[in-house]
């Protein structure tokens, strides 16, 4: 009897041992519900081909609710093992509260350039708390069939851009520019952050805002807003109620010629549009020699400090730094560009087009994110409102520039 009991105990405990040692289960928390298929059908199977004993579950929350619900779940101790990281302050806050582990000791971090690591490091650079994954980029998508029908060529400068829009408007069959101001973030991200780097000279201008050497009231910001204001002449009637999905529909149904875009659209557009489309880079100011592309560090993955599967989690995170992951990710989720330094083959033609711009233009990140994005009122929020109001014609470019500067000066010393 005693023997029986001890055998039972041993077998039970071995089951537990087996569970902890080999059958680790990792839960990834993410806001990228669009990518669920890619993770479940390609990325996780590829990982399991190497590490068959680690089960990985990809769990999503819709984007607008992600930050709030992650806070609640981390505080409540119910969050998954791996946390998908929003760049800069939202994730830095999680690290400061002790909810994310420092990943300095992780192998494979040399596979990233410094700019990629900056998005998820402490201000002094002493700790890295998320493994960088991918960036997104901006530009304009265009309907190739409409361009062919109207005999249009790809515009490079601001005046060429507006001349092209004029031709489409004169033809009268298509909406020249598919964007509306109902979702304010869309106009700010696809307008201001899209062509903006050409006005503020990329990294140089972005850093000058942080140091306070440039102000949002400087002429080039007013010029940028003036240029964006002109967009309104080419938008659909009633663009004030046009939401982001409305604009996507307008373009993918073949009713609009040009769509100011983010590269993340490539994936969904290639499924929805039944015509050929491609992309051209943000227009430059007339007479400008260099060009700049926004290539925003958008997504990373960190380790929940309360995870009970840290060993497995670190194995997974190290795998994320590999060329294998980078290549799968780049091709399964075209439009998200891996931040690794590995050279990668991308097959999607539109994604390739986006990547090719980086050969001729310098890259930068969104100018509202790093450091200047952490006060109240939130700089991103102000830019959303200002850009939309300027396009709606309820604010002049000068007023918009002044309002943006005033909101930053309100809390940020270098601007006071």
């Amino acid at each position: 009897m005693r023997k029986f009991i001890s055998i039972t105990l041993i077998s039970i405990s071995s089951i537990f041992l087996f569970n902890t040692a080999y059958a680790g289960k990792l839960v990834i928390e993410s806001w990228r519900n669009d990518d669920a298929d890619a993770w479940n059908n390609a990325i996780i199977p590829a990982f399991n081909a190497k590490y068959p004993d680690i089960e990985v579950i990809f769990q999503t929350t819709i984007p607008v609710q992600y930050a709030g619900s992650m806070n609640a779940k981390l505080e409540g101790g119910t969050a998954g093992d791996l946390i998908t990281c929003i760049p800069f302050d939202q994730s830095l806050k999680l690290f400061n509260r002790g909810w994310l582990d420092s990943l300095n000791s992780l192998g494979g971090l040399d596979n990233y350039p410094q700019v990629a690591k900056d998005a998820w490091s402490t201000d002094d650079g002493s700790d890295l708390f998320c493994v960088p994954m991918a960036s997104v980029s901006h530009g304009f998508m265009y309907n190739k069939e409409i361009f062919a029908e109207l005999g249009l060529s790809i515009p490079k400068t601001e005046s060429e851009f507006f001349a092209t829009l004029d031709k489409i408007k004169d033809d009268g069959n298509y909406t020249p520019l598919a964007i509306g101001t109902a979702d304010t973030w869309a106009t700010a991200i696809m307008g201001w952050q899209n062509v903006g780097p050409n006005y503020w000279a990329g990294e140089k201008g972005r850093k000058a805002i942080i140091t306070g050497d440039e102000k949002f009231t400087d002429q080039h910001y007013v010029d940028l807003l003036t240029s964006l204001q002109r967009w309104s002449n080419y938008m659909a009637d009633g663009y004030q109620t046009q939401t982001y999905p409305d604009s996507q529909n307008l373009f993918t149904l073949g009713m609009a010629a040009i769509y100011p875009t983010g590269s993340w659209e490539i994936f969904t557009f290639s499924q929805n549009a039944d015509f050929e489309f491609s992309a051209f880079p943000p227009y430059t100011q007339d007479g400008q020699a260099d060009c700049y592309i926004d290539d925003h560090t958008d997504i990373g993955i960190g380790l929940n400090s309360a995870s009970t599967n840290k060993e497995e989690a670190k194995i997974f995170l190290e795998w994320l730094t590999s060329a294998e992951f980078a290549e799968i990710f780049a091709n399964e989720v075209p439009g998200f560009f891996p931040l690794h330094t590995h050279s990668i083959n991308v097959n999607d033609p539109v994604a390739k087009e986006f990547i090719s711009w980086k050969d001729t233009c310098d890259t930068t990140i969104r100018n509202s994110s790093h450091i200047v994005g952490r006060g109240e009122p939130n700089l991103d929020g102000v830019i959303y409102e200002v850009v939309s109001s300027v396009i709606n014609g309820t604010m002049t470019p000068e007023e918009g520039a002044a309002k943006t500067e005033a909101s930053l000066a309100n809390w940020y010393e270098p601007h006071q």
Binding site: V64, A67, G68, N71, I86, F88, D89, Q90, L92, K93, N96, R97, G98, G180, T181, A182, D183, T184, W185, A236, D237, G238, Y239, Q240, T241, Q242, T243, D246, N249, L250, S368, S369, G373, R374, E376, P377, N378, D380, G381, Y384, E385, S388, S389, N392, T394, N410
Partner: protein
């Protein structure tokens, strides 16, 4: 005679009082408490066990009411919400009354069908209502243009939801559309409860339908109208879902549709790149709390006292 201690009263009351106190009263008062604290949003001076928040007295309220950054949003939301409420009372109540009056007419046929269909929108989720109206009023789908065009008025079309001047009215009308069934039902019930003798007497006096309604029925159901107004008030100052569903957290254009509820959500939970601010969120919530309380007290002490005189 000495009675046994009435344990059964405690048994009957305990479960409701317990749940209500823990999950309703305590959180409401705790919210009030948090609003007197402040905390570092980046969390750097926090450890998870002690000293999470520091006491600041009424400073948060000073910021909310007087600091330009916050006060603009507070007064703007309050103004919008008041307007929202006034529109509800002045449009929803008369429509509800009119329909209820028609439905309570004895000879009318298909009463049940009308009542069922008019009440139906009140049962629908805001998510559904918000989405469908967003599409109906969108410039691309062209419904208003088609409908106005049918009567030769297509020039009247405006992107109502997207214009600063009209967005709030449009959203109010959608909300009124959805909830008109509730006052209708309450007024209908009240009208049916008027004793027949009262109405018979007025018929003998020779008054017609309109005068009977105006001089006899309406004063008699005044308490119900008052109740409806105060319920609308409470509901309106809590409204959040509809704006969230139609305009998103920015309550655009330019915060022209911002109500106390959306302001609270934005502040407390944060949005996109803005970090949530729990203590200021609690302050906004407490201010809303105060506004509702003032309204309810005004109703209880002024309005209700005056109208009870008409009660039969």
């Amino acid at each position: 005679m000495k009675k046994k201690f009435p344990y059964h009263i405690i048994v009957f009351l305990f479960p409701a009082c317990f749940i209500y106190t823990i999950f309703m009263i305590f959180p409401l008062f705790d919210t009030l408490r948090i609003s007197f604290y402040t905390q570092d949003l980046m969390g750097s001076n926090l450890d998870n066990t002690t000293g999470v928040r520091t006491f600041t007295g009424i400073n948060n309220y000073r910021i909310l009411f007087f600091d330009e950054l916050w006060s603009y949003h507070f007064w703007n939301a309050l103004k919008n919400n008041t307007y929202f409420f006034i529109l509800h009372v002045s449009i929803q109540t008369p429509i509800g009354l009119l329909i209820a009056a028609f439905l309570s007419s004895k000879e009318l046929k298909f009463k049940g069908t009308y009542r069922t269909l008019i009440f139906l929108p009140a049962m629908m989720s805001i998510v559904i209502v918000g989405y469908i109206f967003n599409l109906i009023l969108s410039n691309l789908w062209g419904i208003p243009q088609t409908l106005l065009g049918a009567v030769g008025l297509e020039n009247l079309y405006q992107p109502w939801l997207g214009l600063k001047e009209t967005a709030l009215i449009t959203i109010s009308l959608i909300s009124i559309w959805q909830f008109v069934g509730i006052p209708m039902m309450l007024f209908y019930a009240a009208l049916l409860n008027i004793p027949d003798e009262v109405l018979e007497a007025s018929k003998i006096d020779g008054s017609n339908g309109i005068t009977t309604f105006w001089y006899i029925k309406l004063p008699l159901i005044m308490p119900t109208v008052g109740l409806m107004v105060i319920l609308t008030y409470v509901g309106n100052f809590n409204a959040f879902d509809l704006i969230f569903a139609i305009r998103g957290l920015y309550a655009g254009p330019e915060f022209s549709t911002d109500l106390m509820g959306t302001f609270f959500y934005r502040t407390f939970f944060g949005f996109q790149h803005q970090l949530g601010n729990p203590t200021m969120g609690a302050t906004v919530a407490s201010a809303t709390f105060g506004i509702i309380l003032i309204g309810v007290l005004l109703y209880l002490f002024a309005f209700q006292k005056r109208i009870t005189r008409y009660q039969y």
